[in-house]
């Protein structure tokens, strides 16, 4: 690695763009939330959390994100383990089918669930035909449809994070444990799980923070009773023109994602120690 002062010149154009168009706008948004008539104040945050509607939105966002992460782990963990033990070729095929949804427009992915869960959607017509229900169920525009949409959106991310770590688990380790008399269950709990933790951490952080900040899915699959932080920012800014509240929600969203990332990382270093 060489030392060179001119290296800063290479970085300069990018730095200027990021300072002017990322750091400055974000700072301006965060700063205005603390601005009061007489200096800095937390008044806007106190007012925000005093409102039970806002508190409800915040709690709902966290709840849905937690639920999404849990389901993604439950579905993703065994799937990823299965994929990681496959031959190179077969693994590649599974990876293609996980990456494809990942690169497909979130609008398309959310829309596909509108087609499935809608009042005249596929699920309802199947259930009606089988005479399991008499009237179409309301499956769309509620918390249920948001969670399905979010799991659908982020499951590939969880799978990719886990496969990346699990495929490096040495087959010999598993065989060694088995030949020493460990049951499959014990192998899973004492060998595979501990070695997969790094992937689990990365996947969970990505899914959880992604769910907290997702806009498209709750906008398309949620209803007026299921506002989350992201849709609350949009409503305040574009429908109510309440820029202060929108900025407060935006800041809360940033702080929450930073805090959660910090917390999960802290937890993981505890587990590893």
């Amino acid at each position: 690695m060489k030392k060179n002062v001119y290296v800063y010149l290479l970085l300069l154009p990018g730095l200027i763009i990021l300072l002017l168009f990322l750091a400055a706008p974000l700072f301006s948004t965060v700063f205005r939330t603390f601005q009061g008539n007489e200096g800095l104040t937390l008044a806007k945050y106190i007012a925000f959390f005093k409102d039970s509607y806002n508190r409800g939105v915040y709690i709902r966002t966290l709840k849905l994100a937690l639920l999404t992460t849990l389901i993604a782990v439950i579905l993703g963990f065994p799937t990823s383990y299965y994929i990681s033990r496959l031959s190179r070729r077969a693994r590649g095929l599974y990876i293609i089918f996980a990456v494809f949804p990942l690169l497909t427009s979130p609008v398309v992915r959310s829309f596909s669930w509108m087609v499935i869960l809608g009042k005249n959607g596929i699920l309802n017509s199947i259930l009606l035909k089988l005479n399991l229900i008499e009237e179409p169920l309301r499956l769309l525009y509620n918390e249920f449809s948001i969670v399905i949409g979010l799991v659908y959106l982020f499951l590939p991310l969880m799978i990719m994070s886990l496969v990346g770590v699990m495929e490096n688990i040495d087959e010999d380790l598993i065989e060694a444990a088995e030949s020493l008399g460990a049951t499959r269950r014990e192998v899973f709990i004492r060998v595979i799980f501990p070695l997969s933790i790094p992937g689990l951490i990365v996947g969970s952080v990505l899914v959880f923070t992604g769910s907290i900040t997702a806009y498209t899915t709750p906008q398309l699959l949620g209803g007026s009773n299921t506002t989350v932080l992201a849709t609350l920012i949009y409503q305040n800014a574009m429908s109510l023109f309440d820029w202060d509240t929108a900025s407060v929600v935006a800041t809360i969203m940033i702080l929450t994602t930073v805090f959660v990332t910090f917390l999960i990382n802290k937890l993981s270093s505890r587990l590893n120690a």
């Binding site: 690695m1 060489k2 030392k3 060179n4 002062v5 290296v7 800063y8 290479l10 970085l11 154009p13 990018g14 730095l15 763009i17 990021l18 168009f21 990322l22 706008p25 974000l26 301006s28 948004t29 065994p78 799937t79 293609i96 089918f97 990456v99 494809f100 949804p101 990942l102 497909t104 427009s105 979130p106 609008v107 398309v108 992915r109 829309f111 596909s112 669930w113 509108m114 087609v115 499935i116 809608g118 959607g121 596929i122 017509s125 659908y152 499951l155 590939p156 990346g164 923070t209 900040t213 806009y215 992201a230 920012i233 949009y234 800014a237 929108a246 900025s247 935006a250 969203m253 940033i254």
Partner: protein, 252 residues
């Protein structure tokens, strides 16, 4: 078995949407009744789809080119040299991916359009350039990791200038990385919703935003047909990524 079920969950919605795009009915259903291409043709009848498709394409290409122009030198500097504050700057260049899109979009509206009265189109382009930057830096850096810098030093010791060496030796060796970075950045810009949604104005909107407002009012198979077009586009771009970067890049 379990893995197969999970994968059915991932794939079936996309199959359903494809099936629904080719039906003859006026509303979405699956399995579709009959076969017709009229919804595919109908995409081109909706003027806003055609126009916003062009805008999305323009923004994605221009934004990616801009991000490459500033991103390639930055990635080169970050992986080639050692300097004070290197770790911090590396983090800073990747930071746009950590900022929630909806927060960033709102902040740009607030700061660029309202405060500094910048045109909507310019702001949209800037927003996309910024969110694309981390993808460029990451992919280019990882392909520079595989580059043997002794070749570069050989060229310089033989009398080539640093700039010439970069263009004649380094850049041709990371072409596949540049292509992969371009495609990844393009996809992320083209599909973006949360940043774009705040940066639309009279006559300026992107395709995903237009699709979102369309499904609020209409529920016919036009969107399904459009989804199929986008999925075909994704498949082609994925093919290029596989040939350049390798799809296993995503499992890291």
């Amino acid at each position: 078995m379990f893995a197969l079920l999970v994968y059915l969950f991932l794939i079936i919605p996309l199959i359903i949407i494809t099936g629904a795009a080719f039906g003859t009915d006026e509303y979405l259903r699956f399995p579709p009744q009959g076969f017709s291409l009229k919804w595919l043709a109908n995409i081109f009848e909706v003027e806003m789809f055609v126009r916003t498709f062009k805008i999305s394409l323009e923004i994605a290409v221009l934004g990616t080119v801009l991000a490459l122009l500033v991103g390639i030198p930055a990635a080169y500097g970050l992986s080639r040299y050692d300097f004070v504050g290197k770790n911090f700057l590396q983090g800073f260049f990747l930071s746009p991916v950590l900022v929630p899109g909806i927060v960033f979009g709102f902040s740009l509206l607030n700061f660029l359009i309202i405060k500094y009265e910048m045109p909507v189109y310019t702001s949209l382009l800037i927003g996309h350039t910024v969110i694309i930057m981390p993808y460029i830096i990451r992919v280019i850096s990882s392909s520079l990791e595989n580059f043997d810098y002794s070749i570069e030093e050989a060229a310089i010791s033989l009398g080539a200038s640093k700039v010439k060496t970069f263009f004649v030796i380094v850049l041709p060796n990371i072409t596949s990385g540049v292509i992969a970075a371009f495609i990844l950045a393009f996809i992320n810009s083209f599909n973006n919703v949360p940043v774009s949604i705040f940066l639309t104005g009279p006559g300026i909107s992107t395709l995903p935003i237009q699709m979102m407002s369309y499904v609020e009012y209409y529920f016919d198979p036009t969107i399904a047909a459009l989804s199929v077009v986008l999925m075909v586009m994704t498949i082609i771009l994925m093919f290029i990524i596989e040939k350049t970067l390798g799809l296993s890049y995503f499992a890291k």
